[in-house]
Amino acid sequence: MPRINSPSELEKLRQGILSDRDPEKPCITLCSGSACHATGSGDVAASIETEIEKQGLSAELDLRKTGCHGFCERGPIIVNHPEESCYFQIKPEDIPEIVSQAVKEKGIVERLLYTDLNTDEKIINESEIPFYKNQKRLVLGSNGSIDPKSIDDYLAIGGYSALEKALSQMTPEQVLEEVKKSNLRGRGGGGFPAGRKWEESRNAPGDIKYVIVNADEGDPGAYMDRSLLEGNPHSVLEGLMIGAYAIGSHEGYIYVRQEYPLAVENLTIALKLAEEYGFLGKNILGSNFNFNIIVHKGAGAFVCGESSALMTALEGRAGEPRPKYIHTAVKGVWDNPSVLNNVETWANVPLIINKGADWFTKIGTEKSKGTKIFSLVGKITNTGLVEVPMGITLRDIIFEIGGGIPGDKKFKAVQTGGPSGGCIPENLLDLEVGFDELSKAGSMMGSGGMIVMDEDTCMVDVARYFIDFLTDESCGKCVPCREGLRQMLKVLTNITEGKGNEGDIKLLEELSEVAKEASLCALGTSAPNPFLSTVRYFRNEYEAHIKEKRCPALSCKELITYHVDPDKCQACMICARKCPADAVDGDKKKIHIIDQEKCTKCGTCFEVCPSRFGAVNKISGESVPPPIAEEKRIITRKSKEK
C-alpha cells in the first residue's frame, strides 16, 4: 500500500474502497469480541467458513468478524446483511440453516430471532430490540459493522476524515477551541474537561509533549474500553492524533492492560496499518505534522489508572502516584507536558471534529454533554454494553434497556463508578445520569461500570468487597490509604462475620474521613465511598449485622445456615448427590438433614433443590430447628398407599 500524501489522495482511496463494495452483497457479521469469544464465537466463525466453502459461496457471501455488538447476554451474535436480520446465541450447528435459509433463500430463521420478553413477539432487526432501541450508539455503533483488523473497513465508514479535516482545514487552536466548546469531559472517572487539560498542556513550556491513551481499565465489572479497542481501534487512534495536533505533540503512548490480549493485538495491527497508509509518521497527509504512537503494556496494578501513577509506569518504574500540585498536563512523563485521556474520551474526538461542537452539545444535560458507555452487569436480564445520552434516568437504563432484574427478584441498588463509586438505592432511580448528578448522590460516573444488585445482595458485604479490593490495590505510598483501608477492612470483615461491635459504624466513619482528607491520590480519597454510600442508604443492614448478628440479604456466609424444611422435602436425593462436602444425610424416601458440622455453606443444595419443592432454606439471626426424629423421616407416598 503506497502512503497517502494528501487529503485528495485519501478521498480518492476512500471512493475506490466504496466503489469496490456492493452494499447489496450478502454479508454475515459475527461478533468476535472477547465476551462472545468466551461463549464460542471462534467455533461459530470456523463453522461459517466451512459452510461457505461447502456450499461454494465464497464469491457470493462475505464473513466479517467484528468487534463487540454489546448485547453480551445473547452472544454470539450474527447479523445477516443487507436484510439486517439479527440472530442470537448462535452455535456452530445453527450455521447451515442460517446460510441456506437466511442468506440463500433470503428468508428468516425464526427460532434464532430475539423474542421480546413481555410480548413474546419475534423481532428481526437489531434496531427494534428494546436493548438497542433505547440507546444512542455514537461511539460504540460502528463496532458491529467493521472488521477491526481492516483499515479499509474504517475508511469505508468515513474513518480518518476528522483527522483530514483537522489537518487541512483547521489550525491547532481551532481544534482546541472546538473541543473546549464541546465541553467534552473525561470519560475515565473524574470528568475533568478535556479541552482545559489540552489547553494547559499546549500553553505549558517545553518542546516535547506527550498524548496518552489510558486503557488501564481496572474497575471490576467494566469492559467498555476493551470493547472499543478491540472493535474500533482506529477511532481511538484518530482521536489521539487530533489531540496531538491540537497541543503540538509528536509522540503518543497507549497504556493498555496486558490482560486484554485481543485489544493489544488489534491495536498493534491498527498501528501498523495506520503507519503504512500514512496516518502516522512524518508529514502526515502532507501537512508537515509528525506523530508516532508507542504501545505500553500494563503489568497489572489498579493504581496505574491514576494519571501520575500511569506516567511513572510509562517511565519503567513501579506505578506510584505523586502529589499533583503541578498538573501532569504541565509536568508528566519525564517531566514533560502530558495529556492523558481515557479511551472513550479520545474516541469522542473525531465525532466532535466531524460534526461540530454545536451538534455534540445538543446531546446530554447542561453540564454533561454527549453519550456515555456503561457496562450493565450483575443481577440484570440483559447484561451488556450500553451507550446512552447523558441525562437518561437510571430507571430507563436498568428497566427499559436492561430488561430489569431476572427471576422475579426485587431491585435493591445499583453500584456505579467502580471501587471509587457508591451504591444508589431504589428511591433515587429517577436520577438523571451525569457527572455531577451521580456525585451528588454519593457515587460517581467513574469509567462506566454499572452493577445491578437485587434483594439477595448484602450491602455490608459489597462495601467489604470494595474495601478489600482497594486494600489489595493500594500502592502503599501514603499512610491514610495503606493503613486506614486495612483497618476499615478489618472492621467490615468482623461485621460480616457476626463479630461487629457497637460503635463500629462510627469508627468506620472516622477512618473514612481521614482517608478522604489526607490520601495522596484519588484511589485513597475516594476509597471510603463504597462504605459511605451504603451506610447512608442501607444503615439498617449494618445495624442488623452488628446488633442482631443477622444478614438481611441472607448472603454473609458466617451468619447463615442452610436447613432442609422437613415438611417440604420430597427425599429426591438431588441435593445429597450434589453436595461437595457430603453434608446431606438422607436416602430415597428418607427426609434429608444437613449436617451443620460438615456443611461448608457453598449453597449448592439451595440451588439444586427443584423449585417446585423449595425445601432448602437459608436462616439468619435465629437458631436452626433441631433435626426431626429418625422415625418421622420416612416418607410414605400417598399414591402408593392406595
Binding site: R226, E259, A301
Partner: protein
C-alpha cells in the same frame, strides 16, 4: 530460561532502562515466572539495580517469582461475578485443590489466582482454566471441571 533468550527479549526493546516493565512482561509471558537468574541478567544488561527490578516484580500483579503449576485456574472475583456468588465458587475450589489464591500445589498441578474482571460479565460467575472459560459455574460444578486435569 537461558541467558541468550533473555538477551533476545532485552534487545527487542533496544535495551532501554525505561522498557524494564515490558522486558519483564516478555520473560513472564514466555516462562510463566521470573527466575532469579533472569532478573540478574536483566539487571546487568540494563544497568538497573536488582532492588529496583524486585520492586517492580513485586508491585505488579502480572509477575510471579515462583514457578507456576501445569494448569492455571483463574477465578473472576469482579463485582458482577461477586454479586452472583463468586466467593462461594472460590471457596469450593480452595477446598478441592487445597491451595489459596496466589499459591501453587506441591505437585505443581494447579496454580490458583483470583482476577478482578475477565470482562465476560454475562457469563458470571466465571472460572477460567488454562485459558478456557467456564461460565455460569455453580460451586457444585467446579469439581466436574477440575477432575479432567492431570
Amino acid at each position: 530460561m537461558d541467558n541468550d533468550r533473555v538477551d533476545q527479549i532485552i534487545d527487542k526493546y533496544q535495551g532501554e532502562a525505561s522498557s524494564l516493565i515490558q522486558i519483564l512482561l516478555g520473560i513472564q509471558t514466555e516462562n510463566h515466572w521470573l527466575p532469579k537468574e533472569a532478573l540478574e541478567r536483566v539487571s546487568e544488561k540494563l544497568q538497573v539495580p536488582l532492588a529496583r527490578i524486585q520492586h517492580i516484580a513485586t508491585f505488579y500483579k502480572a509477575f510471579s517469582l515462583v514457578p507456576k503449576g501445569r494448569h492455571e485456574i483463574h477465578i473472576c472475583v469482579g463485582t458482577a461475578c461477586h454479586v452472583r456468588g463468586a466467593t462461594r465458587v472460590l471457596d469450593t475450589v480452595r477446598d478441592l485443590t487445597g491451595i489459596k489464591p496466589g499459591e501453587t500445589d506441591l505437585d505443581l498441578k494447579f496454580s490458583l489466582e483470583t482476577v478482578n474482571c475477565l470482562g465476560c460479565c454475562a457469563l458470571g460467575p466465571v472460572m477460567e482454566v488454562d485459558g478456557k472459560t467456564h461460565g455460569k459455574i455453580a460451586p457444585g460444578k467446579t469439581a466436574d471441571v477440575l477432575k479432567n486435569f492431570e
